[in-house]
Symmetry: C2
Subunit: 271 residues, 2 copies
């Protein structure tokens, strides 16, 4: 397909945006758009400048026989902070308090634009670290893990609290559930994670940390390694095992009687 | 932020790709990139041509005070067929058969690139129809619904088979579960779907159809309307209530003894 330069740049931009973290040789574009490799190289230089000036992401060009171009999405701290501030406000809406002092989050975690932004912020917080898979626990964590995995262009892995016949053989571990005050089991399909994977754990809401501790112990069952933990929101009041994690939001008060939630920015922008 | 024309086109393309189905006024771009509205208009014309020639999608320009530009993602039948053919082959791999004659799908439904492509194909099959939300049932359907919702830029709604305290008030219906041969319950949080929504139902695997019939009856409890049903794969052998749906794949044989699965293209390209 032969395109004009300006059209070619639009189409190559689209490709890079939809294929983050993937190395693509310039020859692939040259062949596809019937252009000289040097022209493609110039196109990439312009796209790189535009992406970097607008904080869409970075483009790296590797030279040599196995060379090519890789797009790494990013987000400016300014944009990320504005998104998190907006989420703080949305989470503080007084109609979110449920009986038992829980907070209704499902609307936020099922809106593509919000998920995409959360994914960009979390992925950016672990930029430069090799990540092979994103792990979460069903059901609430799934869209979050999916969003982060979309940006990193790696598979996500869903740990379950129940045994499903459609998962085949599973490995299980016990964990201490804060919400039920009991020891529960969690399961991961044997084929869902390769040994020696480097894994980012993502979850929606961090309370006691039992679920995340459970997932970390699953990692060792799969001879895999923890890169980090990121949560959408944490409960500031909760006693928690010693754990390193990044949070977008910190819920510092849930006042059921007065129907009030106090939400602050989490620790994701620290250091 | 002032950019050169070529850079501006790259940045506007990125915006449109990440904001499908959203009307954005040309003034928004003109202000943001300090350019004349007429220049933005020319940029859009080039992007439109590039997107259409490469089957990335359509760009519609609405004139007048409330006018602007809307990007609708699409996919060529050629590309869609190639993707579905590839999925046919992946599903036919003989190591997918699980005890009980189930097929392991989780790896496909947790790979972002595959999900994105499935989302594009399903969304494209319902193009031109007004859709307010995508509905599915936990857990396997979630990444699929998420993928379709990403393309349509609408929220997705997760029906559950168990009651969760973090969902607040729920509405429940009974459904006939083919896998357990029993009447089961499914639940949907009251606040997750607005009345009069037009809903696309998505699921991973269609057997007896009980789950989907259940979701359809939930729709009427929410005074909402069914736009259509799309499934990743259907079991061709299964007796099924009279139901209209689109399927990407059709599993016509699962031979547990010889470890063989026969998979064909579903009905999504018929019409």
């Amino acid at each position: 397909m032969k395109l004009r330069r300006s059209e070619r740049m639009v189409v190559i931009s689209n490709y890079l945006i939809n294929n983050p973290y993937k190395l693509t040789s310039l020859n692939t574009f040259a062949t596809k758009y019937e252009a000289a490799k040097s022209s493609i190289s110039e196109d990439i230089a312009i796209i790189k400048k535009a992406f970097e000036e607008s904080n869409i992401g970075e483009i790296e060009t590797l030279t040599g026989a196995s060379g090519g171009v890789i797009f790494t999405p990013s987000i400016s701290e300014e944009e990320a902070r504005a998104i998190v501030q907006d989420l703080c406000q949305r989470l503080s809406e007084n109609n979110r308090i449920l009986p038992g002092g829980y907070i209704y989050l499902s609307d936020l975690l099922s809106t593509p634009k919000i998920l995409q932004n959360i994914g960009r912020i979390i992925a950016n917080a672990f930029k430069g670290q090799k990540i092979d898979a994103v792990m979460t626990v069903a059901t609430k964590g799934v869209p979050l893990a999916n969003a982060v995995a979309n940006i990193l262009n790696v598979p996500f892995v869903i740990v379950r609290r129940d045994l499903k016949i459609t998962e085949g053989s599973t490995v299980s571990v016990n964990y201490a559930s804060a919400s039920s005050d009991r020891i529960e089991k969690m399961f991961l399909s044997k084929r869902s994670l390769r040994p020696n994977s480097r894994v980012l754990i993502v979850d929606d809401f961090l309370k006691g940390g039992g679920t995340i501790t459970g997932m970390i112990s699953l990692l060792s069952e799969f001879d895999s390694h923890l890169v980090g933990v990121a949560v959408f929101a944490e409960n500031a009041k909760e006693e928690r095992e010693d754990m390193i994690y990044k949070s977008l939001l910190k819920v510092s008060e849930i006042d059921v009687k007065n129907n009030k939630v106090v939400v602050e920015v989490g620790n994701i922008f620290n250091d």
